[in-house]
Amino acid sequence: MTTVLAEVGFYEPVWIQILKAIIIFAVGLQIVPIVLLAERKVLGRFQNRIGPNRVGPFGAMQPLADIGKLLWKEEFRPKTSIGFLFVLAPIISVLTASATLAIVPFGNVVDIFGEPVGLYGIDVNIGILYAFAFGAVAFYGIVLGGWASGSKFSFLGAMRGAAQLISYEVAGGLAVVGVVMMAGSLSLTEIVEAQARDGLWFFIPQFVGFIVFLTAAFAETNRAPFDLPEADAELVGGYNTEYGGGGFATYYMAEYLNIVVLSAITATLFLGGWLLPFGIDPPTWVDPFVVIAKIFALSFFWIWIRATLPRLRYDQLMSFGWKILLPLATINTLVTAILVVVW
């Protein structure tokens, strides 16, 4: 039987694995409300207003208040909805987003109490494919949620979500192929180590791939300018029109968790993961903070785009995905393949 687990090359005790899981989950979920607050604050600054500043010092408790308000609301659903799927859909969304968190490398292997520990949840040998697999499953959360709501607006949103997934998953996947070829591995830690070896972060040699991947990542998170599945002006709330209270809070969290996770993946693939520029080599304990700093920087970019760009139209989104992004990603892959072989 072939091994499907990670080839970590060393043994990690069970207690360390459990501890790691808890810490990564806790840290990952701590970043989410910070990004949530940052979005509201930064959007406020972009839009010439102050943003939340009433709940707690500097409005720091605002995310807590938001989520608290939603959770205390009455749960209701339309008569036409399918109850089981209606409840399941947001859970799928948030589960898939947090599952991807497991492969984000926050650092390399370190020694803790004499035990070698990798600063990541799990280093699967399929690496980045794991992220794409869960990214694809995440859309079931949207499609099922829209379908099970039994509302026409939700249905239209769900259809848009499905179409968007197909269009952008392909381009995003192809964009990563260049990185994988340059690194010679699918494993995220080895991709970062390849960037350390060359002393060149992949966003420079793989600039086209970087742009295509980032665009596809925006489409995956359903954020402006690709927020068509929820397009508030057109479809009221799209797939989450009928959700209120906890269900909506779950979708809300999944959206921000997706931003965090995709920022982390982008940072790992293209921006050197835990590495610092100019050959600065800090002690190992700094690595996780470098990754988190990069996550925040990329999340800021997400917010910036939201404050700037209008929404694309459905057909424009499709033709942009298939006629521009996909050919770009394909050419990028071809050129990279030729260059990798020649050198």
Binding site: L43, F46, Q47, N48, R49, K152, F153, L156, M159, R160, A224, P225, D227, A231, D232, A233, E234, L235, V236, R306, A307, T308, L309, P310, R311, L312, R313, Y314, D315, Q316
Partner: protein, 419 residues
């Protein structure tokens, strides 16, 4: 439920079936079984009020749509019949709630025509200043909400920042931010206060720059270009056939503007241009309104520079209230005041239609007088109501996202539509 009498309105609603749609319009490629009827509104985030659109969709394509109105019907026209002439001003102001100065001017203009009353020049200029400020403010609300419908949310706040300045100016000169009741039969309620001119000059200095910034945000944005250029055009003839006026008609290339075509309130004194478009698409509708804001600033500047001295309201004590200081010394003033406040002034029998150019098009007020102190009939020709007819011809066969964008570009104000 027992067999209840269904109102004619409900029956009309029920009669709108998918089959009826199909017979009339067919589908894009024969997919008769894939039609979806969606109710956009009355509480939908992008219908700018409580408009309800019954949309038949094939996938994302709009096959047909039918606007259903009446959700904010307030009976203002009927209410106005119960009020004396000068007390009807606050109610007519509340029809098109983004163009209150215009509503009041149209109504007062009609009454003044019936009375054969001359408004003093200063009063006319003050009306122009306030109407043009109102026009800019209305266009700002339109621009902000339209951009929001396109998904560009920041624009909304930038527009409302300038709108706030205008509302502050209104507050200073009239005491109210919205529904100011500033326009009065015979002139304006009060002269502008001290400090108003400086604040207004600050505003007209900054506003053209702001319009330039809005342009930068939209004209250099590829997504905005794609969403607006060539989208939902309608030619001049169709627009005229539907009775559409205002920026929508001007975007199609017809320079019809009542300020030039049939000047009122001394608009002939000012030098300004009528921006027109060429294609009549959403892009032109945007460009025309942006240019109109700049022209309005020009008009305000000229009106402020050339503001004549003199009374701001007619000296005819039978029509306008006497100034406060006369009340303590003049018996006649006291009698006039008492008569005006209790009964109001009487208007000789007759009827008059007074059209002006509101931010949305031709806003006309029809007043019939029967010789008493209350109007026998007040009717508004509201441009939003007429322009709304153009929604279906513009958007048939386009995407639902374009429907929303076009509806935003129509700039309907439901308070004016339902009245």
């Amino acid at each position: 439920m027992a067999t209840t009498e269904r109102s004619a309105y409900r029956q009309m609603e029920d009669s709108i079936t998918m089959d009826a749609r199909l017979e009339r319009f067919g589908t894009v490629d024969g997919g008769e079984h894939e039609l979806l009827t969606v109710n956009l509104g009355p509480h939908h985030p992008a219908t700018h009020g409580v408009l309800r659109l019954l949309v038949t969709l094939q996938g994302e394509v709009v096959i047909d749509l039918r606007p259903i109105i009446g959700y904010v019907h307030t009976g203002i026209e009927k209410t106005a019949e119960q009020k004396s002439y000068w007390k009807a001003i606050p109610v007519v102001e509340r029809m098109d709630y983004l163009a209150y100065m215009f509503n009041a001017t149209a109504y007062c203009g009609a009454v003044e025509s019936l009375l054969d009353l001359e408004v003093p020049k200063r009063g006319q200029y003050l009306r122009v200043i306030h109407m043009e400020l109102n026009r800019i403010m209305s266009h700002l609300v339109w621009l902000g909400t339209s951009a929001l419908d396109l998904g560009a949310m920041s624009m909304f706040w930038f527009c409302f920042r300038e709108r706030e300045r205008i509302l502050d100016l209104f507050e200073q000169s009239t005491g109210q931010r919205m529904h100011t009741r500033y326009i009065q039969v015979g002139g304006v309620m009060e002269d502008i206060p001290r400090g108003f001119e400086e604040k207004l000059r600050e505003f007209i200095a900054i506003m053209p720059k702001r319009v330039g910034q809005y342009r930068d945000m939209l004209y250099k944005n590829e997504i905005a270009l794609q969403r607006l250029k060539g989208i939902c055009p309608l030619d001049e003839e169709s627009l005229l056939a539907l009775g559409v006026t205002g920026p929508l008609l001007r975007a199609a290339g017809n320079p019809w503007d009542l300020r030039k075509a049939d000047p009122y309130c001394s608009y002939e004194d000012f030098d300004f241009k009528i921006p027109v478009g060429t294609e009549g698409d959403n892009w032109d509708r945007l460009a025309v309104r942006l240019a109109e804001m700049e022209q309005s600033v020009r008009i305000i500047e000229q009106a402020l520079d050339g503001l004549p001295e003199g009374p701001h309201i007619t000296e005819d004590r039978k029509i306008a209230l006497p100034p406060r200081h006369e009340l303590g010394t003049s018996m006649e003033a006291l009698i006039h005041h008492f008569k005006l406040v209790t009964e109001g002034f009487r208007v000789p029998p007759g009827e008059h239609y007074y059209p002006i150019e509101s931010p949305r098009g031709e806003l006309g007020c029809f007043v019939r007088a029967d010789g008493s102190s209350k109007p026998a009939r007040v009717h508004m020709r509201d441009p939003s109501f007429v322009n709304l007819q153009a929604t279906a011809p513009m958007t048939r066969g386009t995407y639902i996202a374009d429907l929303i964008a076009t509806l935003a570009m129509l700039d309907p104000v439901l308070g004016g539509i339902d009245r």
